[in-house]
Amino acid sequence: MSAVRSAALAESINATLADLLEQDPRLLLLGEDIGRLGGVFRVTRGLRERFGAERVRDSLLAESTIVGQAVGMAMSGLVPVCEIQFDGFTYPAVNQLVTQAARIGDRWNGQVSPSLVVRIPTGGGVRGVEHHSESNEALFARVPGISVACPSTGEDADQILRYAVTLGSPVVMYEPIRLYWRRNTPARDPEPARSPTAARIVRRGTDLTIATFGAVTHEVLEAAYALSPEVDVEVVDLRWVAPLDMNTVLESVARTGRLLVVHEGSKDVGIGAEVAASVAEHAFDALRGPVRRLAPDRRAYPPADFEKDYLIGVREIKDEVLVMTK
């Protein structure tokens, strides 16, 4: 397998945030421990020193306060980029995101277009304690008015963040914790995405399409390289789960005739269900076999000693592809 050494995700996001703060005086960062400490993952390290405590704001330890005040700041013309410390602590902010941030534009008849970003570290594989390894992107994907991004590289996170701060409606961006400081990752096709909101074909293949997103994209790529040349897998990194770029998926399925969806969040009523349903509706005739999903069962994320049983690994992905192509 070919691997490349690149800037870690945390470093890329740090550089993007610094550049955005440099360019737009209306933009500010808001989150727990993001200033003095630089964030628990050090994603915002050095930014408070560079841009000041007014623009890199250590928030109170209250998630509803973070998003609720960000909504008010957006009404005043600012562009708040919030950080929730861990995925599992998102829930106290859900009301402000779902009933307020997502609906402010409509409620104001378009007079307010809040560009408001909420960054959330996500996912497992780092031996986190309870509530520190969750994948709750599907929760927001169902909410009209909120866009949900799940980048798997620093380059994608950069493009997504730059787009998100200009969108005029809230964006939740999930950042895989286990990629924050990982430097060696499987090689990807250099082909750029068609637009900031588009999915990206990160490996061209002819036999089967895997649609995936987030950290597990790297396991999918490893599996694809390992299966080659016996099975030639095409890998689509969705990058956004709401709205989904189904055109890229449908075009890929039209070429390969097979679709597997892989994600880390639990399977039931998940992103994979939506992708599979769309393909069944719009590309049924192109399919050479049933669409399948590979994702954890519907259960809470387990204690760290058991997370390997929960997470989708390279071996499960290879096995699934072989079952589908035999």
Partner: protein, 303 residues
């Protein structure tokens, strides 16, 4: 507690202001009554009456002045009308036409927020945002007693305190969270609770618009001078149910409802200004004609 007064914000209303208080109260009462009628006729889906709260709303809204930015809850109809929201704009959302019928930016009267206390955090965030951009607005956030049980209310009070945000919280306490009486909702007053967060506060009766006007003038002056938050709690009467779908007779005894009606702030203030000779029959007739005209136009628009 001693609130610092500033001469530029007079604390006692002059005679013109007193007539203005009464006029706005009478207009609010008339529009509210027409909206209730329209709901009975099926022209509105729902109406949340503010009857009994006119003195609190008009007194506070006049006191904070036209430049303050108001984050209402959803029953601040008298504040809305005083700020220039027209009656047909006010009822549009209750007829299912829109989520907000007025221009929030121009009127500095932001849209109603139906999820309780959510607007309290928006108000504080807005005040911080304005300050960061060099604009030092006075932000006024309204909420009812029921909403103070929400976590966002406590979070907003704490945030406003630690950020020293220029926010005046105005809590209209009508004694009921739909059917839950105030005595079962809290063990202290809301004003006392605010002090626990480090926020100056005062509790004034909501029957007399002049008392409210004076207290809110002092509170607004305090916020402007100290650039620190303040809270005014105003106990008010509740004449009608929570909404037109509520049946308050089920849980509230008749004497209590009768007491609220007898203590009607609108008729009491009209009688008082009449007795003082500040308004005469001709003045009252003119306001009455104005209200009738507003009601007729509203009815024609919605029936």
């Amino acid at each position: 507690m001693v609130l610092q007064a500033e001469t530029e914000y007079g604390t006692d209303p002059d005679d013109d202001t007193r007539r203005s208080l009464l006029r706005h109260m009478l207009v609010a009462r008339g529009v509210d009554e027409e909206a209730r009628q329209l709901q009975k006729q099926g022209a509105l889906d729902l109406w949340l009456s503010c009857q009994g709260q006119e003195a609190a709303q008009v007194g506070s809204a006049l006191a904070v002045g036209p430049t303050a930015t108001v984050f209402p809850s959803y029953r601040e109809h008298a504040v809305a009308l005083l700020r220039g929201v027209t009656p047909d704009e006010l009822v549009a959302q209750w007829a299912g036409r829109t989520f907000c019928g007025w221009d929030p930016r121009r009127l500095r009267f932001f849209p109603y927020t139906l999820v309780l206390a959510a607007q309290t955090l928006h108000g504080v965030g807005y005040a911080i945002g304005q300050r960061l951009q060099g604009r030092d607005d006075l932000v006024v956030v309204y909420m009812g007693d029921g909403a103070t049980s929400e976590g966002d209310m406590s979070e907003a009070l704490n945030l406003a305190a630690v950020e020293s945000a220029s926010v005046l919280f105005i809590c209209q306490n009508n004694g009921w969270a739909i059917s839950k009486p105030a005595g079962e909702q809290m063990r202290t007053s809301v004003a006392e609770r605010a002090r626990g967060f480090g926020i100056e506060s005062v509790r004034v009766p909501g029957q007399d618009p002049e008392t409210v006007f004076s207290a809110c003038s002092r509170a607004a002056a305090h916020v402007r001078a100290e650039r620190a938050p303040c809270l005014v709690e105003i106990p008010v009467g509740r004449i009608h149910g929570h909404s037109t779908s509520d049946a308050q007779e089920v849980y509230r005894d008749h004497e209590d409802i009768a007491r609220a009606r007898a203590a009607d702030p609108v008729t009491a203030y009209a009688a008082r200004l009449g007795g003082l000779g500040l308004v005469d029959t001709a003045w009252l007739d003119a306001v009455d004609a104005e209200v009738r005209e507003l009601r007729e136009r509203l009815m024609k628009e919605y029936v």
